[in-house]
Symmetry: C2
Subunit: 303 residues, 2 copies
């Protein structure tokens, strides 16, 4: 399965006819990671007919409603659908205290555990890892503690060269280690270098999510060279001052960050409700950084 | 403005492609009353382009998520839109304690007051009145304390007969009393009966909302003869047992209540997500009670 990013909501604080508040799902190696969960997230999932039985972790960037008001409904529906796997919610310090009382009341009998894992949104740290991915927090510049997320896929297994494996009579029990890069020692004690037995693994992907944030060059080294950057672009250039006072970014600022960080591809999102059509945001960004696309509710980007 | 009922969400616990969880707005004499506020209520309002600056009161039937998870997002957006009028939320005992902590956190700086008015969902009582309407609670039979609502429009002013007012030289200062039904006493002490000066007022309307509830004949006297009854019809007859165990109604049961209460018009809603098409529910209800319609998200019914 190719990695893909599913946009559930590309809007900002006020929903519009087309854009729900922020939520998205990153699919990677048969796992799903949700990033933010604005109101209506579960509705968008149903509208898309998404199966999300591989979702174990939700990452919340900050405690503004348009990024987390969908949590309670999502969890409640998981309960009705008889989910049994634990659900982990990674969010800034304070998230557990805010949501646990409602969870206890509305979701008392759900057949799975909801586990809050709080992190310090002010620090750049490894906040989660599993076999497939590492997730690092990216401190952003917003009105409340707010963190972006860098998803860095872990190195994949090398591909074995079947003919060489047969030639050197490598036992099946050793194959896994060889896929990880180990050399092979024959019964006669001869060392067969790994690069004779395997060819390089598939490329891994990296994805950085930065929303909500004012223009901040501090994040550049943290996201340098990623395959895909989602950066908020709440406003056009005419609203520069508003962007500054509300600690949001313009599309040009997002593009400037993408350009300075030399990312492969930029996606703009978190659009202010004032733009019925986001073409102006795309145009302004494109003038600075060519490989840029607009997020859109229910759109899927393949990495 | 004619009275009308705007369906924002006609679904039940699990949203579907077409149906959001429960919410609706009753418009009456230039005022708006919201009934229930499931997740996505504010989104539906935006999708419909509804102006809701005449909304002062929200009535919550019970504390299940599909009837109240939209409150926090709605209130939060009202704050961003600089609403200043106080907002009253009428709900079963316990609603304030459940929502106030999140309101304090997420809506700390909103420029209006949110006032919770709790009522006993187990009693049939007048829970609210203003110049236009009385609202009575209707105890329903559900898994948690749950109340329907009877909206009974207050008597309107009588229409003055301009020629008679002129003929008897009624001073302007007396007109309002005469519209309310008072007789007029001339300077000579002659009593002019009100029915010479006025003709009868326009008809008032009554609307009963009953969701969620199992079949309960106890509500019949409370809703007898209303112009419009919205009754939940979560299931078809094949799911009778499920309706019984979950304390919901089938479409036929809703129709039976409507028929026994001799209401003018029935609307079915709160459809289980299992019905892509609710025709079967309509058919089953129609066999028992002819004047029946299906609720539908973003549909408007004129009373």
């Amino acid at each position: 399965m190719p990695a893909r990013l599913i946009i559930l909501g590309a809007g900002s604080a006020l929903p519009t006819r087309n854009n729900f508040p922020t939520s998205q799902i990153l699919e990677l190696r048969d796992k799903q990671y949700m990033i933010d969960c604005g109101e209506g997230t579960q509705i968008r999932m149903r509208q898309m007919g998404l199966k999300i039985n591989r979702l174990g972790h939700i990452f919340i960037s900050h405690l503004h409603g348009d990024h987390c008001f969908g949590l309670i409904g999502l969890i409640s529906s998981f309960g009705m659908l008889n989910r049994t796997a634990d659900l982990y919610i990674h969010g800034p310090v304070g998230i557990a205290a805010l949501f646990e009382p409602q969870l206890q009341f509305f979701c008392e009998h759900i057949p799975f555990k909801v586990v809050f894992e709080e992190f310090d949104a002010g620090k750049n740290k490894l906040i989660f890892e599993d076999r497939s991915v590492e997730v690092h927090s990216i401190p952003l510049k917003h009105r409340v503690p707010c963190s972006g997320f860098l998803f860095r896929e872990k190195t994949k297994d090398r591909h074995i060269i079947r003919e060489m494996i047969d030639f050197y009579q490598v036992p099946i029990a050793r194959i896994n280690l060889i896929k990880k890069g180990a050399d092979f020692v024959t019964e006669e004690g001869k060392i067969i270098s790994n690069d004779i037995l395997t060819c390089p693994p598939d490329k891994t992907i990296s994805y950085a999510y930065c929303s909500d944030t004012a223009y901040s060059e501090k994040i550049i080294p943290l996201i340098a060279g990623v395959d895909l950057l989602y950066h908020e672009a709440t406003f056009a250039e005419t609203e520069q001052i508003r962007a500054k006072t509300t600690l949001h970014s313009t599309a040009s600022q997002a593009a400037t960050i993408a350009s300075k960080a030399k990312v492969e591809q930029l996606i703009l999102g978190h659009f202010s409700a004032r733009y019925n059509d986001q073409q102006i945001l795309l145009d302004e960004a494109k003038a600075i950084f060519e490989p840029v696309l607009l997020a859109e509710d229910m759109k899927i980007f393949y990495l």
